[in-house]
Each structure stands twice: as structure tokens, then as C-alpha cells.
Amino acid sequence: MLVRMVKDGHIRLLPIHVANKIAAGEVVERPASVVKELMENAIDSGATRIDVTVTAGGRKLIEVRDNGGGMGRDDALLSIERQATSKIRDVDDIERIDTLGFRGEALPSIASVSRFTLKTRREVDEAGSELVIVGGSLQDVREAGLPVGTTISVRDLFFNVPARRKFLRAFQTEQAHIRSVFTLHALAHPEIGMSLTSDGRELARLPPDATLEERVRDLFGADFCAGLVPLDRTRGEIRVYGFAGLPNQTRTDRSEQYIFINRRPATAPVIAYALREAYPPLEGNRKPIVLLFIEMPPEHVDVNVHPTKREVRFHKPVDVREALIAAITEAIGNTHRHKNNEPADAPPADTKAAAHDTQDTRDTQDVSLRTLVPEAAARPFDYPAPVPLPLVDAPRPAAVPFPAPMQPAPVPPPTGKGLPLFADPHAGSPWRWCRVLGQVGGRYLLLETDDGMVTVDPRAARERVLYERLMDNARSGETLSQRMLLPETVQLAPRDAARLRKHLSVVQAMGFGVAEFGSDHFIVESLPAALGTVSCRELLGNIAHDLETAGTRRGAEKWREELIAKAACRAVTGSSEPLSEEAAERLVNDLAATRMPYTCPRGRPTMIFTSYRELERKFGR
């Protein structure tokens, strides 16, 4: 970033006041930090190809080769010499090192703790330069025949700093760190071809000029991509784009949250907060998978909070939060508005037309995410699809034809009824086509979809469906309540009764005909018509309890309604009888039509997806 290796005379000292702002810190902490600094330099050199080679977790060798602008001999010397010398002269004087510039210390500090070789050539030069530095002292400068670009080799890192060497972890650990640094930069720059080789084994080879989604697929595989939805939204001066993981694919930590601010891997507390808000509550405090690029005017972000620049500070954190929440909710909240483009019971499309469509859709979707076109963003991943199956002319029973059968369709579509869920495959339904196979264990529903097998927990599904119905009613302000033939009286504990009394008007406005009946008794005369059968005792108890434990959570409007709806859904009594075929299909349809089909209102998953690929892998095929 700082060492522009393009032309002589471009290496410059930063003004002291800028340098002083830079937080102190060691640049070279472990092999991965070397990789980071060298890759950043390579990216800044305008390279289109960067090859990273490491040996023994980076202890023996780290080599970063780029085909960027390269440097002339003077620049090359300058980039090493001045700072290297200063560092060697006064190792303890951190203050002084800091004054030497913003990141200008990278190469010299690396060179000071390793056997360092810099080979570089500009296109205009006949011959390149090779510099050899050992432990910070320049050993040799010579002319050499070299390709255009820069190659930096760092051997025997920390050979002269035994204390540091001792703290290095196992090869595997260091290699994992290197890999994650590599991944971050590979994601941030899909236009650059990159490769990572460790101990002679190629861990990644990424072609240049990739779109973001191609890069993600190359790095993580297609299965990973299937659980992501693209997003792109600009709000004010802030643009948020990238991918959000569906709420049913979560991790226990943030290790799969890739966040880039102005293309720089970074994070900030407000981002974690925004993610928590944007996602529905996830079971067990799990973290969603995200790949987010936040772009904003550079003056609105302060990257100098932390020496490694991993943590940044925003000048207007609220704007960033709002932009993130809006972008993510829009993406994972499903593009429901887009549905009903096509009647669900449309006759099966002509095979050829379908094949043709596939091609078309793929072409239109093959838009680089760097130049994000809105339509492309609103669509889920599109795989390099195998040619659609040559469908037999026999009509596929009730299975909806999809314009783009991207996976090999379940072969052959078994007899029995398919559920025409959404004609539009991009309509935000978790599946394009599905068929209820039955109920297992007297409880879970098993579905067949075109991508794999889905196990649905009917109870969680029902809670989600009812929750959204109740909230829809609450939002529309019109509630329909069914009067009870036999009103039920419920006695609550005095504390619960007091809480319920406090919020009784909200409860009533949502269609619950609950009234006080004297001395902590309440009478339930009517219930929201959407709710079905509930246990009134549990209902009132849940509501009272949840209202209390929530306190006055976040300024979000309708929080009380949300709470009440959640509490009510929990009180809904499911029959222990197995679901009838129609009831199961209806439930599955209703679930697919919800805004957030993947979790119940409490954040438990409603469905578990097992792809055919996963099954094949498990069966060793």
C-alpha cells in the first residue's frame, strides 16, 4: 500500500503528524503477518498474478512473487535501506520507528529478522536488481536477469530473534494463519490471479479476472455458496455488497465472517452489532456467515485504531449500522415481492425451452459482482450448471418446471405429488421444487428438493408460520379474533399478573381478548383467528415472562408485539398425531412463503438441508 513500486521517486516519507497518528505495534508477529505485508505490497504494485509459496508453515521460507510494476534499483534500495538501518541502529526506540512512516516499516522490519531476498525488475529496465539482506544488514546488491515484477523471499524468519521463534506455533497452526490471510486478500481482490503453495503442495489456485462469486466458489466450494444470498445496497454514501449466509448456516464463532471496508479486511464493533440485529436470533449465540464489502468515502473511516489495521472506527457508526441492517435484511428476508411471476400450476415447460432458458439465465447472471448489477445481486448463486436432464416427455407429476434446472433434477421425478411452491426459482423460497416424502420418527417431515433432502421440524415450522401471521396482523393494525365459546380463566402469579396488566392494551390490540377478572385472574374470551389452538395458561404465562425478561430492548418499534407473538407461538399446542399428507404439504408451503423460513421465532432451525453432494460424499461416490 505504501511502497508504490512503480516508478523511482515515489517512495516518500510521510509527514510526521500522519506518522504519529499511527498506532505503535510490531509488524511482524508471525509468518502470517509477513505474508500479509508482502501480499499487500504486491497488490499495490498493480499485479495481476500473485504466487505465494511457504515452507514449514512459513518458518523456512515465505516467497511472494508478483508480476506488478517492479522497482528500479534506487527505489529497491530505498525501500529497504533507510528504514532497515534505522531499525538496526536503535531497536528499542519504538517511538522513532513509528516516525518512519505509515507501514513504511514493513519491508525493513521483515528484513531485519530474516534472510531476505528482493528481486525486482521494471519493464523499462534491461536487467533487474537482486538485494540480499541478512538480519537487517545488506549483504549484496547485484544485477540479475529477472522477469518483470517483484519477488520477495523471506527465509528463516526470526533466525536472529530466538524469543520470537520460541513462540511460533506448530507448522499447521502457522499455515492455517497464512491461509486465512491469503483467503482474505483473495476475496478482496478477485481480479488478481493468486496461488498458494505450501511445502510443495498447491493449496489454492485462483484464476484472475474472477467475479466475487466465482472467487468465493473457488475458495470455499459450491456447497458453501448454496447457503449464501447476494446483496448490494447503497444507503447514503455507504454501499454494502457481497453475500449473506442464510440463517440456517451458522458457525460457533466469527471465523467465517469476512468483512472488508474499502476493500481492506477490517472489523468494527458496530458491524457485529448490526449483524446481530439483522439476523433473526440464532440458536446458541451462533454467528452467521457473511462476506461483506462496505464502501464509503475514505474520510469517514479511521483505519488507524489498531496497528494491524484490523479494527477500524467509523465517523458515523449509526449510518454504517443502518446500511448493513438494511442490506442484510433485504437479502435474507427473501425477495418475496418477486414471486407469482408465473402461475404455480403452469403446465410443464417444453424441455428445449427450459434448456434454452437455463443458458439465458446463466448468461445474464454471469455479471461481475464488481460491477454489481442489481438483478444479479438479487439472485442466489448460479452454478456452472450441467445441461438439464433430457426430460422424458411424460409429464412430471405436478412438479413445477423451473426455467433453470441448475442441478440435475431428481432422477426420475418419482411418482407422487410434488408441491408447486414457487414458479420463480429466485422467489426466496428455500427450494424451487419439493415433495413431502413423509414423516420420520413420528415427528420430522422429510422433503425431497432438487438440491437435496430437507428435514423439517414441524413444530418450529408452525411457530414460524404463526409468528409471521400474528406480526402481519399486528403491523396491518387489523386483527381478527375468534371468540371463544367457553372463555377460560387463568390465574397468574402476582408478579406475572402485574406485568401482564402493564402491557394488557398491546396484548388486546393484537387480537387477544384477555381481560382482568380480579385478584390476578385473567379471562380469555377470544384469540387471534390466525393462531389456532393454544393453551391459555401457557399463553398468558409466556407473555408475562417474556415481557419482563426483555426489558426495554433496542429502540425497535413493535418489540412488544414481536415478543407477544413469539410467546403466543410457543403456547400453540401441536397435536402429537402424525400430520396428514395435506396438513404436511400445507405446512411446508406456508413455511416456504414466510419471510424467514429457516428458523423459528426463537432462532432454532426449522429445517436441515442435506445436499445430494453431501450424501454422495458420505456414500463415498
Binding site: 401471521r469 396491518s476 386483527t479 375468534q482 383467528a529 393454544v534 406456508d590
Partner: protein, 364 residues
């Protein structure tokens, strides 16, 4: 044990009682029918521990005895055999040999000692009811049974033997169906039984249109004796809510409606309902009923039909399913709907002693 039996009789008996056998379930013995050969008839019993069924079939017994055999497999074999005499012999290891014509089967059974005891047909009281009548009564009420498992007492029909009448009631807290029938029994036999939903379904299957059946009632179970078939069921323990108090006394307005016309109009209009929103508005004006539905995001539907009505205009909202349910299960040409206003309970009646209370929906 050894007997010979006519195929069609054997099969008929097996089919009558095999319904309670679920086909899955944890207890292997419950997949079996207990078969006892004694005198000149075979006694076959199945149970799922809540409901037991038993039937008697004529046969020639050469050697009395008892065993249990997997009923579904046995019935499948018998079904596939040609009509004629079937020889069945069971050894002491409960392995049955089935022979008919050129066919020969061996079926592995289980010991009768493992089979749960089945209730006997003795009860404190015995009521005699016409089969067709009981079936009609069940048909007119059973759809209103509550599926809500937290209120156990509502998960069945109430059979109240009182004042020389059998009153049958079912409700799910939103609507209530009630039928009455005069039957004869001694005053000391007055009792209330709550028959669970599953037994109601099973009983309706077993009942034919002719002949009487006997009901033996005990405190926690009832036995229904239908010809040579018997069904016994556990009863729901508890006190049924006082249903009399929810039946509105006198209503101000009364509408006479053609049942078929109302049912088909509701069917048509409810096409535009969804699970989310199914409010159906019934507006009664002079000799006219307008049914209208307006579902946001779906559409609206409206239908009018002539009725006999001269009262004030009433507009009332119902869940259309709750109106259609009774209409589907009664046979009268005309029904009467009695109401006070748009928000009090309404009453549906017909010319037989049938009564249906339904609570309107309220928009706020």
C-alpha cells in the same frame, strides 16, 4: 390348535378388527391378533391398548387352543387365496401352518401369554341403541371435536344418558354441535361418558345401518357390542364443561336458508380465503343473504342467495369452515340460523334435534 374355516368369513373377520393395528409401533405383540378357538367359533382380538376390537367367526374346530399371529400378514395371505376352505394348525411354538388347495404357508406367531388382557363386556349399565341412529349422531357432532391436546376433555364426544335421552356433544371451544335422541334406559343408569376421537372414528366405521347395538358403560371404559363384533375403548377421564350455558337462550332474529344453496355459495366464495385470513362476512337483509370475502393480496369474492328473512339487517363474520362443517353433515333441506346481532353467538338448527352454536369473529 387346529381349525378349518371358510376363506371369506375368515377374511371378513380379520378386516373388521385389523384397523386398530397401527403397523408401526414399539410393541411387537400389538401387531398380532389373538386367536382363540373354542366351541364352534373363533374369537379374534386386536388392541392398541386404548381401543380393543374383537370378533367371532364360525369355524370347525378340531383341536381348541389359542395363539397370536401377525394380523396384517395373515390377512394379506388370506386375501390372496382362492375361495374355499382353509386349514390352520398352530403348534406349541406358535408357528401357524395355513393350507388351502395347493397353497401352503408357515407364519411365526407369539405366545398368547404376552397379549395384554382385553376388557370384558360386562358393565354397570347396558344401553341399547339403533346402529343407524348412533352413527348419524356421531356424524353430526364428531367434526367439532377439539384437536387441542391441552384440554383433554374436549378431545372426544360427550355421550350423556339422561332424562331418557342420549345427548351427544362435541366442541372445540369455538363452536359446539349437539344432537339428542330419545332412548330407553332405567333412571339409575344415567351417566356421562366422553368417548375419545379415535374411538369415535372407529365406531363410525364399524356401525352399519341396521340393527341395534349394546353399549356397556363402566367408569373408565365403554364396550360397544355390534352383532358379533365388539369394540371397547378407554374413556376420557374428566368433567365435560357445562355446555348448556353456552347455548344462547332466545334469539331475536331467525333466517330460513336452503342448506345446499348456502353450502355451495360458501364453498365458492371461500376459494379466495387463505389460512391467514378466512373471515367470511354474512350480511342478512330482507330475504337476501350476501356472502363476501375480501382477502388482502388474494382477492375478493361475493355471492348472494335468497333466504326467508324479515328482520333487521345483520352483518356477522364467521370462519367459513365452521359454517360448512355442520351443513355437510346434516341432510335437511332447510336450516335455521338464529342470531341477535353481529357479535353474539349464532345458532344453527334444523328439523331434527340438532343444534350448533358458533362464535363469530371480531375485527378490531
Amino acid at each position: 390348535m387346529k381349525f378349518s374355516i371358510v376363506r371369506s368369513k375368515f377374511l371378513d373377520g380379520l378386516q373388521r378388527i385389523q384397523n386398530v393395528v397401527s403397523g408401526r409401533g414399539t410393541l411387537q405383540i400389538l401387531q398380532n391378533a389373538m386367536i382363540e378357538a373354542e366351541g364352534d367359533r373363533l374369537c379374534m382380538t386386536t388392541t392398541d391398548l386404548d381401543i380393543s376390537e374383537r370378533c367371532y367367526v364360525e369355524c370347525q374346530i378340531e383341536e381348541p387352543g389359542s395363539t397370536t399371529l401377525p394380523i396384517r400378514r395373515l390377512a394379506s395371505i388370506i386375501r390372496e387365496l382362492d375361495e374355499g376352505k382353509i386349514m390352520v394348525e398352530v403348534d406349541e411354538d406358535d408357528v401357524a401352518t395355513v393350507q388351502s388347495g395347493s397353497s401352503y404357508f408357515k407364519i411365526i406367531g407369539m405366545s398368547v401369554r404376552d397379549f395384554p388382557p382385553v376388557p370384558v363386556t360386562e358393565g354397570k349399565f347396558c344401553y341399547r341403541i339403533d346402529q343407524g341412529v348412533l352413527r348419524e349422531m356421531l356424524r353430526k357432532t364428531s367434526y367439532a371435536i377439539s384437536q387441542d391436546e391441552t384440554r383433554r376433555v374436549l378431545n372426544g364426544v360427550l355421550m350423556a344418558f339422561k332424562d331418557n335421552k342420549l345427548t351427544m356433544v362435541a366442541t372445540d371451544g369455538r363452536r359446539l354441535a349437539l344432537v339428542e335422541q330419545e332412548i330407553e334406559f332405567p333412571p339409575e343408569a344415567e351417566a356421562e361418558l366422553i368417548l375419545p376421537n379415535k374411538a369415535v372414528t372407529e365406531l363410525m366405521r364399524l356401525l352399519s345401518n341396521e340393527g341395534d347395538l349394546k353399549v356397556y358403560a363402566q367408569t373408565n371404559q365403554a364396550v360397544f357390542e355390534i352383532g358379533t363384533t365388539m369394540m371397547s375403548s378407554k374413556l376420557i377421564d374428566g368433567v365435560y364443561p357445562n355446555y348448556r350455558q353456552v347455548i344462547p337462550g332466545a334469539c331475536d332474529e331467525r333466517v330460513v336458508i336452503e342448506r345446499e344453496a348456502l353450502l355451495s355459495a360458501l364453498r365458492r366464495v371461500s376459494v379466495v380465503t387463505t389460512d391467514k385470513s378466512n373471515a367470511t362476512r354474512l350480511t342478512f337483509s330482507a330475504n337476501q343473504l350476501t356472502i363476501s370475502i375480501n382477502t388482502p393480496d388474494v382477492g375478493e369474492g361475493r355471492d348472494t342467495l335468497p333466504v326467508k328473512y324479515a328482520g333487521k339487517e345483520i352483518s356477522i363474520i364467521f370462519n367459513p369452515e365452521y359454517v360448512m362443517d355442520p351443513l355437510k353433515n346434516i341432510d335437511d333441506d332447510e336450516v335455521y340460523l338464529e342470531m341477535n346481532d353481529g357479535h353474539s353467538p349464532a345458532l344453527l338448527k334444523c328439523n331434527v334435534p340438532f343444534l350448533y352454536v358458533l362464535m363469530p369473529l371480531r375485527i378490531s
